[in-house]
Every structure is written in structure tokens, then in C-alpha cells.
């Protein structure tokens, strides 16, 4: 347990590439929504209805909202994120409108999942999900470089020890 003697680390930010992941995810979601809007629009016109505005207006509006959201949200969320591997606990701070500061003592950790979505795999990022005996524990760190995630997981588990957590 060499980590135990290590001094308290400073708060870290997520990997910058998470902005790309979130942007792609939001863009993909709104692309689908825009296509649905377009299909509905065309379908309605074929059926003889007259939705307001020129053809495709709804789809353009949806795409516009999606574009703005995809531009703003990932950056803002990235800026809001800090996590800290402190001496005795993992601390997460994040949230734009709703701020969350959660703290999970290492000795409560039951297991840790490292997961990767398709977009995350493309850019080489992982997500760390820390589980305790409580279902309410909110401890997901998105956007850690794949190699670092494995390292972080090992470090946390090394500190977790073997306490009776319940």
C-alpha cells in the first residue's frame, strides 16, 4: 500500500475528449428527433394536412435546438466536473443547474465497473462506476482515458481493503 503515504491529490478534471463524446451523443439524439419530425411533417402533408410554415420547418427547428444544446451542454458540463482521489474518500463535484458533491469512502466500495460506450471506445475513453452496498450511491466518473481508468480502479480497490461494509 504505497498509495497510503501519498499526499492528498488535487482535484482533477475529466479528459477533454469527453466533450467530443457528449457532443456526438447529443447530436445523434437530435438527428434522430429531427428525422422523426421530418417524417411526421411529410406524412402529414401527404395525408392532406397543412402544418404551419414551409415543409421541413419542424425538423429544422429541432436540429437548431439540438445544435445549440450540443454546442453548449458538453462544454459546460465538462467545466463543471471535478473529481478528487483524496486520502480516505473519492469526491466528485459536478452539475450545471443542479450541483452535486458526492463523497464515497474507499472502505465502503464493493466493486468498480469500467465501461465503454461505442463513441467512448472510438476516442479511447472509459467510464468508472463505483458501487457501494447502497443503491443510492452516485459515483460515476465519465471520461477518463482508458489506461488511467484501469489505474484508478486498482488504486481505489487497493484502499478499499476488506472491511465488513454493511
Amino acid at each position: 500500500m504505497t498509495e497510503r503515504t501519498e499526499s492528498v491529490t488535487a482535484a482533477r478534471t475529466l479528459d477533454r475528449r469527453i466533450v467530443v463524446v457528449w457532443t456526438v451523443q447529443i447530436a445523434a439524439l437530435f438527428l434522430v428527433l429531427a428525422l422523426v419530425a421530418l417524417a411526421t411533417d411529410i406524412g402529414a402533408r401527404l395525408a392532406g394536412a397543412h402544418p404551419p410554415g414551409p415543409p421541413g420547418l419542424a425538423a429544422v427547428l429541432v436540429a437548431l435546438v439540438g445544435g445549440l444544446l450540443a454546442r453548449w451542454y458538453p462544454r459546460a458540463d465538462y467545466r463543471s466536473w471535478r473529481y478528487e482521489v483524496a486520502e480516505d474518500a473519492l469526491e466528485l463535484r459536478h452539475g450545471i443547474l443542479r450541483r452535486v458533491h458526492s463523497a464515497i469512502p474507499y472502505f465502503r466500495v464493493q466493486h468498480i465497473d469500467v465501461t465503454q460506450g461505442p463513441v467512448e471506445r472510438l476516442v479511447g475513453l472509459s467510464q468508472l462506476v463505483i458501487h457501494t452496498a447502497s443503491a443510492g450511491t452516485d459515483a460515476t466518473i465519465p471520461g477518463i482515458a482508458a489506461g488511467d481508468a484501469e489505474d484508478l480502479r486498482r488504486r481505489i480497490l487497493a484502499r478499499a481493503g476488506t472491511g465488513d461494509a454493511v
Binding site: A89, R98, V100, A103, A133, A135, G136, A165, V166
Partner: protein, 493 residues
Amino acid sequence: MRSEDLVAATGAGAPRRLHVLSPVFFAGTHVRRLWPLALLVLARRQLWLIVAGVVVLLVATTLEWWRRTYTLEAGALRLEEGVLARKLRVVPFDRIQQVDLVRKPLHRLLGVATLRVETAGGGRAAEVDLDVVAVGEAQALRASLLRAKAGAAAAPAEAAAAAAAPAAAAERVLLRLSVGEVMLAGITGTRAAAVLAVLGPLSQASDWFPNLSDWLLQRFDPESVAPTTPAAVVAVALIGAAVWLGLAAASSVVTDFGFTLARVEGDLVVRRGLLERREAVLPIARLQVVRVEESLLRRWLGMASIRIQSAGRTAGDDQTASRLAVPVLQRSDVNRVLGELLPEAAPVPRLLAPPPVARRRMVRRGILRAAPPIVAAGAVLWALVRPATPVALLGVPLAALTGLAAYRSLGHARRGGFLYARQGAVIRVTTVVPVAKAQSGSVRSSFFQRRVGLATLHVDVAGGGPTPKVMEEAEPTAEALLQVVIGRSATSP
């Protein structure tokens, strides 16, 4: 081939089978699970088919019974089962959270019981379900498991010896409810309260029970019974209320008849049930959270109820014995019972109210939440009795008062190893969390909370229930409490 060698080495016990009648109960569950098939067989009305079905069922369940064994080993309960696909399960004693004994009417008739062993973080089904064993054996087994568990916590080597020792622990009754009290619990309970709230639109009851209205129409002339005068409407409402409250009382008696809360050394015992007797045993050290609930009605009557959360089972599965609650008790008894459940937690200290800015927030929130029903009520009045529409506006001060009451009940305290938090306007809930049981915590603040410097502390605990919260506290206070929750500052203020 099996555990005999190991057992010979440890001397803990030989593999045992369930009660000889178990195949009958297995058959019962199979028939229930395969009811379309059973129905099909019965519908054909061919004797050979029925006989074949019964024979197949009997052979299958007998084989199943033959293969299913349980063994009390040195540090664990070992289960083997399965005719074709074999399954071995080993439950270490130190993971046991709760042991339940369930006796359905048929069980009671035949002198058997189902023994359930629950472990931390279990899914919906109990980890071990011994269905069925003779009552005496079930009780002895439970005593052994609990003692072995206590032994496992102290010294693993002695666990087996403890498991073999005879049961002779004295039981101390903490609380026993009379039939009247159990009925009172049903009448003043949340279910009955919800009923009272919807008594206004009683006429809709016919939509819920279409058959009931048919039945009534066949027997009574609608012209003569229809409530036409205000007095008749009131009378119908009163009769409806009486029926509902009667039902609430009756269902409460069925589930909680003979409710007894007792302590046997370090274990908590809860016994209840009219036809189906349930007996839950929970080691006190495994209690995660205790909630004292006081509804408006119960506060007037000077009563309360207590809910106990163990780590055993996920989200409130009311059908199991793991739901541990004291349905009703005198408010003056609360601190005595709390002291038995969580030593040193009683009495509940004076709680600190959140800062005054929270009051305005709670009042505003009360009004905002009540806005849709007020508007709806206004619309209904507009459609039916137009001049009475402004009456709906009375909802606004009422909502404001509710918000104020919600603020009044907010509060928190920290004493020793316990965190106390209170909330709720109508049903006031005081949550007592042993800090040592908190798994993690978080401080959350919405945009509007941050503008006035408030935040809410969430305490994550094991087991199903709602997350204990310290609501609308000043942000620095919430952050300081978070440090306590994660065990950074153990000293009491």
C-alpha cells in the same frame, strides 16, 4: 462426492433434507407457475391425463426434494439442489442479515414452516428459502444460524461450536399490540388517510367497481336510494367512509394481528399475522435506518409508527416478512423503543431548524405544487357551479400553510454516532441514521437553492427504503454534515 468429508472434518453437521411434506408444497408452486398447463389437463376431463400429470408432478417433486439438502458447516450454510442442473450455494454466516419464519395457514395445520435467510444486497428473492421444514427444526436452525453468525463475527473458529450449542436465550418483549391497537393502526394508517382524501368524489367508486354497481342496481331501486338531498349525500359519504375504514382496519388485523416486538440478546424479533404468521429475526447490529412516522391524524391522537430498515432486501417488497415496522405506538413509547433498536440514539434530541430563507422557499414550493389541483378544482367549479369558482382560491392559503408546516417539520441534529433528520408536512418522518452505517453521501443544490445558499444532504444507506435527507440546510452546514457522514469528523459537537 459431497460434503460428508468436510463435515466429518469439522463436525458441524450432516446434510439434511427438508420436511417429507415438502414435495406437496413444491407441487403447489409448480402448479401455480404452470397454471395454463394444469388448466388444460383439467379441461380435457380425461382421467388418464390427470393421473399422468399428478404422477409426473409427484415424481419430479420427490426427486427435487431428494436432491435438495442443506448443511450447517463451519462458517457457512451450504445448499445443494437440482435434479438435472445441479446447484451449490454457500452462504457465509457473516453475510446473513435477517432470518424469517413464515407459516401460512396450511403450514400451521401441518406443523411446518418456511425459513428464509436474507443476505445483504440480495435481489428480489430471498437468498435461501427452505420450503418447508418442521417448525421445531426451523426454530432450532434459526437459532443456530443467528448464534453461528454472532460467533462468526467474534471468532470464526468458534462459529461451528456456537452453531451446535442448544438454544436457551431469554426473550424480552418490548411492545405488544392489542387487536384494538392494530385496528387503530389500520384506520389511522396512510392507506386510510389516502381514502379520506378522495372521499369527495365518492360517486366515482362505481367506475372502480363496475360489478358492485350492477349488483346494487339489481337489488335496490335506484330512484329510491339515489342521494338527492344534501343530508342523503352526507349519509352516503359517511357510510362509504365507515366501509373504507372498516376495510382498512380488517386488512390491518389480517397482517398485523398479535404484533409483538421483542429482543433476544442481540436480535430483534417481530411476530405478526392472523392466518399467516410471520416471524422475522434481525440482528440489531444490522439495522441501517429507523424512521419514526407521525401522520397528522396520529399526531392528534398522540401516536406514531416506526419503520425499520435492514440491508436485507431491495425496495419495499410488502409480501415478505422483511418489511419491519411497528404499525402504531404511543408517542411516549417512541423513545423507549428507539433506545432498544439503536442504543444511545434515544431520546431524539432537539432538532435545529434550517435557516429562515428556507421558509420562504418551502411556502413558495407548497403553492407551486398545489397550483395544478387548484386550477383543476377551479375549472370543475366553473363548469358545475359557476358562482362558486372563487372557492378554489381558498386552496392557495391552504397550500401556503402546508408549505409552512413542511418548513416547521424540517430539522436535523447530530449526536454521538447518529444523524437525525426530519421532514414532511402531513406525514412527519424523523429519520435516525447510525453514521457508521452510511455508505456514502452527497450534497445537492438546485439552481434556486444555490441562489439563497441552501443545499440538501443525501445519506446513502444499504437496503431498500427512501434516501435519508437533511433538506434545505445552509450549504456550509450540509457540507460539514457530509464530512461526518463519510467518517471524517467523528467528534460530537
